[in-house]
């Protein structure tokens, strides 16, 4: 197993918007769409990069990527990734997204299906289930929210209180609010996914408390060419808690 950290870090210009991009590996291109906790490089991506060319940009408004003043929705994100692929000259890629990133990935596949070879989404945010209240991430502090993300709480990363939070984390939190504060889901998503022709692998942590498995089941039902892979003893972030299971399943799916 190759565990060396060997990515390149660059800032690229996507239609006038500066985006920070982590990139590593050779092979088929795979676009990683991070969740609300922000981008960056991690051991899961490192593993992926031993088989694929991993592109891991920071979404607009997150980390050190720009935020245009008009930019405020998941749709804006999806159109941004169309432009991102154009900028890098990729006609078609496989996409892998976690949580908020999974939502963006589905939206991108809806508007640009021909650009998406295969789609892997995990513990997707934004699925609307009528009559069901999901956990409101904004009524939890960041340490509380982090705790709810994990099945094995002994593995919790240390997170700062509001008064100690670094600027990048503040930006991530504000951008997450900009995208989801007024509505944390898209009531049209499940209806629209009925017409999706891209093969989709849906991965879910069985003990996900933030976005329960029932959302994954709804997605499976809604998307024609999809399969659901449930990981036991795992919370909201399979790529952090169960990377091996996740990676093995990706390998057989792609």
């Amino acid at each position: 197993m190759n565990t060396d950290v060997s990515y390149s870090l660059e800032t690229i210009d996507v239609r006038g918007l500066r985006v920070r991009l982590y990139r590593a590996g050779k092979g088929e291109p795979l676009l990683w769409l991070h969740g609300a906790n922000g981008g960056g490089w991690n051991p899961f991506l490192q593993q992926l990069s031993s088989r694929y060319e991993v592109l891991a940009p920071e979404h607009p408004g997150f980390g050190q990527s720009d935020l245009p003043d008009w930019f405020d929705s998941i749709e804006d994100m999806a159109f941004h990734y169309r432009d991102f692929l154009d900028t890098l000259g990729y006609e078609r890629v496989t996409i892998c997204g976690s949580s908020l990133g999974g939502w963006i990935g589905l939206q991108l596949a809806l508007i640009q299906a021909h650009r998406v070879k295969k789609l892997i989404v995990s513990d997707v945010a934004g699925v609307h289930i009528p009559g069901r209240d999901s956990i409101d991430p904004f009524t939890l502090t960041v340490p509380q929210l982090t705790e709810r993300c994990f099945y094995d709480t002994s593995r919790l990363p240390k997170t700062p209180q509001l008064s100690e939070m670094p600027v990048e984390m503040i930006r991530n939190r504000a951008m997450f609010a900009r995208l989801t504060w007024e509505r944390g889901c898209d009531p049209k998503l499940l209806h629209r996914l009925g017409g999706l022709s891209v093969p989709v692998l849906i991965v879910w942590g069985r003990q996900d408390e933030l976005v329960p498995l029932s959302s994954g089941e709804k997605l499976k039902k809604a998307i024609p060419d999809s399969e659901l892979f449930v990981i036991d003893e795992c919370g909201h972030l399979p790529y952090v808690e169960k990377p091996e299971d996740f990676l093995n399943r990706i390998a057989s799916f792609i």
Binding site: V167, I170, W181
Partner: protein, 379 residues
């Protein structure tokens, strides 16, 4: 100097074990704790207190807007201003302020304030605020857009008041094809606009540019001074020297017969105010994107303790000038001295705070009116 008597109209019968059972008096504090019969009594006592300010020679009386909280029972300040409009005849009625960023239709504010101004024959002062962080939880409005919405809502209201309608407005957040307020305000070009804030640089600049009075609320003396200095500097940049009338200070003041008695009584009510009414999680104060990312950490640190029960010691509140208490002579002398160092031309007195009973509030207003106001007015 102009002197105003201001009320928050808090709910006072909070349970003894509030701090054990609840972590917030805002947003999530259940309205099952509100007793309408007691509420009826409170509203009427509070309105009596504000009306009494007129008899005691105050220049104006003030109300404000907060939502889903025991801290203040005025989700609509305009309703309160309307009840006061017909029960007073001379005082100005300061709405401090309407939280205009929370409105999907800011024209409604333009209409209501114009109604009040016409009814009172021009006694309305129209404050504009964007609402505190907790209000963005109550309304579930995107806090990252609150400032932009504030500026646009302001422009729409001014347009509704000053331009013969119908006109249209097309901004980033608001689009209206028919702006045409009936009635238009009694005062020309429009009622005075005040900007209450705890020291936001953007608000200070905005107010200074338009020559709107800036009202600093709930702050220590050093932060009041810092904000006033910023305002004066901004005014110079905009090509004029800010007169004292454009600087207002809003502060808790309590007068009793002697210093000792005033301090003892004020301590009890301040403890209720800071350890019950103001209690909320830090996240409610600073929702994501409510403050610019670059200044977020510093601002959160500067407000440390706010919202946390027991974080403020009474002595600190007194030492930092967040509360002034004493005999009329001593309150008067302190205010004269503070006026010399801070240079404010408007004083907004929170003459009721915490669980202050009616008789003490009335005494406070009477002592202020008879023994403090005459000396201040001469400044």
């Amino acid at each position: 100097m102009e002197i105003y008597g201001f009320h928050l109209m808090p709910y006072m019968n909070m349970p003894e074990d509030f701090n054990d059972k609840y972590d917030s008096a805002w947003v999530t504090y259940s309205n099952s704790n509100f007793d309408p019969k007691y509420g009826h009594e409170l509203y009427n006592l509070y309105l009596d207190e504000l009306e009494f300010c007129e008899r005691m020679g105050f220049d104006g009386i003030g109300v404000n807007e907060h939502h889903q909280t025991a801290y203040g029972l005025m989700p609509s300040p305009n309703v309160m201003a309307a009840t006061l409009a017909r029960r007073t005849t001379k005082v100005k009625i300061a709405i401090l302020g309407n939280a205009i960023s929370l409105r999907d239709h800011p024209q409604r504010v333009a209409e209501e304030v114009a109604m009040l101004d016409v009814i009172t024959g021009g006694r309305i002062i129209s404050g504009f605020v964007r609402g505190i962080g907790a209000e963005y939880y109550s309304f579930r409005l995107d806090p990252t857009k609150s400032k932009e919405r504030f500026f646009e809502a302001h422009d729409i209201i001014i347009q509704a008041w000053t331009q013969p309608g119908p006109t249209s407005y097309h901004g980033k957040h608001y689009h209206f094809t028919h702006i045409n307020s009936w009635p238009v305000p009694y005062q020309k070009p429009h009622p005075p606009i005040w900007c209450p804030s705890q020291g936001s640089r953007d608000t200070i600049h905005f107010a200074a540019e338009r020559r709107y009075p800036y009202l600093q609320t709930f702050s220590s003396i050093p932060s009041v001074k810092k904000s006033f200095d910023l305002y004066r500097e901004a005014a110079e940049e905009f090509g004029y020297t800010a007169p004292a009338e454009q600087l207002g200070w809003s502060v808790l003041i309590y007068c009793a017969e002697t210093d000792a008695r005033a301090l003892e009584e004020a301590e009890e009510h301040a403890a209720y105010f800071f350890s019950k009414h103001l209690v909320m999680p830090t996240d409610f104060l600073f929702p994501p994107g409510y403050l610019p990312a670059e200044t977020h950490q510093k601002t959160v640190q500067s407000k440390a303790g706010l919202g946390t029960p027991g974080a403020f010691q009474f002595k600190d509140l007194i030492d930092r000038g967040m509360l002034i208490a004493g005999s009329p002579d001593s309150v008067r002398d302190q205010l004269i001295e503070l006026n010399r160092t801070l240079g404010f031309g408007k004083l907004n007195i929170n003459m009721h705070f915490g669980n202050m009973p009616h008789h003490r509030t009335m005494k406070n207003i009477e002592l202020l009116g008879k023994h403090v106001l005459p000396a201040l007015r001469a400044l």
